[in-house]
């Protein structure tokens, strides 16, 4: 019997995340899995091998695991990027941030000139007018781009659209008497072109090219998302809230199954408009359809909304600016019912909780469910969980909840949280990574791409430095070490997905998934962690250079 060929990669340094052997110079791979990491002479014992020097001057880490992202990031790159900060697209081109509303308009004008038909819609994304002072973006700004074609631009938060006059006309909203809290009116009594919240956004979405159907089942988008993963060293990425209709599942299974597809996608079924019995039944059936590169069968639940959208549920004393408390997205009876049934069937549930009252509700519901249905190793995870305090982290530890926190928020919206949403003290404890680790809560950190850019090393930088866009350090006591941050973006996230036995470290038996780095994240200054250059990835033993053919 002949066994498969063995490749031994030589590297400048291999950071394994295996405490028994934290560093190595060589890693041996067979059949897409790791035979071992160590010195060449030890690995040679596995038999005849080919020595591969491609990474002789590079640093290998376990492939990064993004525990909270959405494949929609790949879809959004079909629209014009208009964000405030530089952002790399799937082809590696860096789109510079737009410094002013004028910049935004100029970019739309450039994109407009490339369109054919004079009435074709023009769409953009990533707009963040909070950086442009008090002036709001209005339809007149985008009317300078075109009055013939509908134009719609989604804000970075994903919760607001700005549109031009033509888009309002097509949506039937260019009329007096519109009375809706999400639609501000101008001096002329007509909508200004700003549309807040999902209801107002849905009405114009289809007219400006953001129709939900296109977003839900986008084959090209999934491929683009995978290319972004390679550029960021990610070998396993979540697609955290998908309705997973049959046709989307078939498409995802086919695309991820292609020989050149570089990422393991973990797609969660969104719990919405179903009973707990129905969604658990769906999850169990989906689980049976899992492949190596498409993992199905887990459930995502929304408990509340977002902090910057003032739809998160906060405990007393509520929002710093006095805004009314946010919204519950799922009744407690449904959360409890789902938790209990999922525990019984061994189905993994991740729960979106932004505000601390939502976190408290999830804790209460899990505590009750565990009394009815004891479970030893459920890995239920609170996603975002941004405002949790120390006592809540202690409860999480006791109940077995993992936390996947959102340090990117400090950079992108930390100044707004400080000044407006939750105020200084709570802004400083947001995404309390150090408290989570000290409390024994299994920790992951995430980008929520496309809300913020996919990039685990940037997210790790956020957890290490806690810097806001204006340069404020937001809660120094919650900064974590580089070593801890690197562990959370590998084994930490893998744990929350129940994949820590397969990925997350470089050791015998695991998948040959590596992030291939040009710089050593343990040698570079912690404040420059985000600047570590990434060559690409190895996934299942296959090489994926970021700038390769």
């Amino acid at each position: 019997m002949t066994s498969s060929p063995i490749t031994i990669f030589r590297a400048r340094r291999i950071l394994t995340m295996n405490p028994a052997r934290p560093e190595a110079t060589h890693v041996a791979v067979r059949d897409g899995r790791i035979l071992g990491a160590g010195p060449l002479e030890e690995l040679a014992g596995w038999g005849t091998y080919t020595l591969d020097d491609s990474f002789a001057d590079k640093v290998l880490m376990p492939g990064f695991v993004e525990g909270h992202s959405h494949a929609a990031e790949g879809t959004f790159w079909r629209y014009t990027y208009l964000g405030r900060f530089d952002r790399m697209d799937p082809e590696g081109k860096i789109w510079p941030g737009a410094a002013s509303i004028e910049d935004v308009v100029t970019r739309l004008q450039e994109a407009e000139r490339k369109l054919g038909s004079p009435t074709e819609a023009l769409a953009g994304w990533g707009l963040d007018p909070i950086y442009y002072g008090d002036r709001r973006v209005e339809r007149a700004d985008f009317d300078r781009v075109s009055t013939m074609r509908p134009i719609g631009v989604m804000h970075a938060s994903g919760h607001i659209f700005n549109v031009n006059t033509r888009a309002l006309e097509l949506a039937g909203l260019l009329r007096p008497g519109v009375n809706h809290p999400g639609i501000p009116l101008g001096a002329d009594g007509l909508p200004t072109g700003e549309l807040k919240g999902p209801d107002a956004m849905t009405i114009v979405g289809a007219h400006v090219g953001f129709d939900r159907e296109a977003l839900a089942n986008d084959e090209d988008g999934l491929r683009r998302f995978a290319r972004l993963c390679v550029r960021q060293g990610v070998t396993t990425a979540t697609d955290l809230a998908n309705l997973l209709p049959d046709d989307a599942v078939s498409m995802m299974a086919r695309v991820t199954g292609e020989a050149g597809f570089p990422v393991r996608i973990v797609s969660f079924r969104r719990f919405q408009a179903l009973t707990p019995e129905q969604v658990v039944d769906i999850a169990v059936k989906l689980r049976a359809k899992s492949t190596d590169r498409l993992r199905l069968g887990a459930i995502k639940l929304f408990v509340d909304g977002s902090i910057q959208g003032f739809s998160a549920r906060l405990r007393w004393p509520g929002y710093y600016n006095g805004a009314p408390n946010g919204l519950w997205y799922t009744p407690p009876e449904a959360i409890s019912g789902l938790y209990k049934l999922a525990l019984q069937k061994g189905v993994l549930v991740h729960s979106h909780t932004n505000g601390d009252q939502a976190t408290e509700m999830a804790l209460d519901c899990l505590e009750g469910a565990l009394l009815d249905q004891p479970a030893r190793d459920h890995r239920f995870t609170l996603q975002h969980c941004q405002l949790a305090d120390a006592a809540q982290f202690r409860r999480m530890a006791r109940l077995g909840f993992c936390a996947n926190l959102f340090p990117n928020h400090h950079f992108y919206w930390g100044d707004q949280h400080y000044a407006t949403t939750v105020g200084p003290e709570r802004a400083m404890r947001m995404n309390a990574c150090a408290t989570a680790l000290a409390s024994g809560v299994p920790l992951a950190i995430h980008s929520d791409a496309p809300v913020t850019p996919l990039g685990p090393l940037f997210t790790a930088w956020g957890a290490v430095n806690r810097l806001t866009a204006s340069g404020r350090v937001l809660g120094k006591s919650e900064c974590i070490s580089v070593a801890d941050a690197l562990r959370t973006i590998t084994l930490g996230a893998a744990w929350t997905l129940k994949l820590d036995g397969e990925v997350g470290s470089i050791e015998c038996g695991k998948r040959a998934d590596f992030a291939v780095l040009e710089d050593d994240p343990l040698e570079i200054a912690p404040e420059n962690l985000k600047d570590v250059r990434i060559w690409g990835t190895v996934q299942g033993g296959r090489l994926f250079p970021a700038n390769g053919a």
Binding site: L170, H180, I203, Q272, A273, W328, Y329, E333
Partner: protein, 321 residues
């Protein structure tokens, strides 16, 4: 202006039904489907799992849509209410009215406000169901209290349900409490969500309301009908806005009213009143102007006040007096 064309005769009235889990929304929805009596309703529910439709009503089912006997249709909107509402007028050109059941934690006032963004629709009324046995406890819940209170405060009608499960003293206390929490709403007591369907499904153009005479005052042993209806002649020169304002005054006791009026410019309009809310919309060409039909609780409807509301220029003469 482009956009979806309005229906030939007025916009589609939408009744929004809100209230927490267990307050009786599902029972009410099934009652309305049973009472449709030829009206072609589209009933939109968040999900059929939480809102089971009575099996004997279902003619057929396909995906998210149930065909209901009598020409009604029932759809679950799940992840996107707005998309369902945008598609409905084209999918079902025969629909006359929409009943929209919101999820237990939704704020019906916010849902109604979103519906008004869509040209084919008008909000007919916001009905919030309250379980008189539990609503005050729920309103004190640390998690849910503010949601329950915001639901109640947005109501045009509050159905105080399950009146048979509490004693008279506690019922009166709870009704008074509901009145304070929903100052703009009219409170309708009920057992098993049994209210006059006309309150929500509207009064027909063809004349008298057909009120159920089996409804009895909750808690009272006598068989007196809970509701009273009036049919009155409208003076030709009455100002429709003024009439609307008078019929929606807090103490007049009107739960629903409908009047057909011929405007000075020759347009035929319908005035729809649900509690404090009114809407003036185009009336069908065949409708006969000059009639007003009113429904209220027998104990609350102020017949004299309604009659006075029809006096032309009453307020003007009072002001000048």
């Amino acid at each position: 202006m482009s956009g979806p064309p309005p229906r030939p005769v007025g916009r589609l009235p939408v009744t929004v039904i809100g209230g927490y889990l267990g307050a009786g929304k599902t029972t009410l929805v099934n009652r309305l489907l049973r009472a449709a009596d030829g009206r072609r309703l589209a009933v939109l529910v968040n999900d059929f799992g939480a809102t089971p439709i009575d099996r004997d009503l279902i003619v057929s089912s396909a995906g998210d849509t149930l065909e209901i006997s009598g020409g009604c249709v029932c759809c679950s909107y799940g992840s996107d209410l707005m998309e369902a509402l945008m598609a409905l007028p084209d999918q079902r050109t025969d629909i006359e009215r929409v009943v929209l059941e919101t999820s237990g934690v939704a704020l019906p006032g916010m849902v109604a406000s979103a519906v008004t963004l869509l040209l084919p629709y008008r909000i007919d009324g916001i009905v919030v169901m309250a379980d008189v046995e539990t609503v005050r406890t729920q309103a004190n819940d640390a998690y849910l209290g503010d949601t329950i209170l915001r639901q109640l405060s947005s109501a045009d009608l509050v159905v105080a349900n399950r009146c048979d499960l509490v004693d008279e003293a506690s019922l009166q206390e709870t009704l008074a409490w509901l009145g304070a929490e929903s100052p703009a709403a009219r409170i309708v007591p009920a057992i098993r969500a049994d209210i006059a369907p006309e309150l929500l499904l509207g009064l027909r153009d063809d004349g008298k309301p057909r009120l159920s005479n089996t409804l009895t005052t909750p808690g009272a042993p006598d068989a007196a009908s809970l509701y009273q209806s009036l049919e009155l002649d409208l003076p030709a020169d009455i100002d429709v806005m003024e009439l609307a304002r008078r019929l929606t005054a807090p103490d007049i006791g009107v739960l629903r009213a409908k009047g057909i009026l011929l405007q000075p410019d020759g347009r035929l309009v319908a005035l729809h009143v649900v509690g404090q809310r009114f809407e003036i919309d185009a009336a069908p060409a065949a409708a006969t102007p000059g009639k007003l039909v009113v429904i209220g609780l027998r104990t609350r409807l102020d017949r004299r006040a309604v009659e006075q509301a029809l006096q032309p220029r009453l307020s003007t003469s009072l002001r000048s007096a």
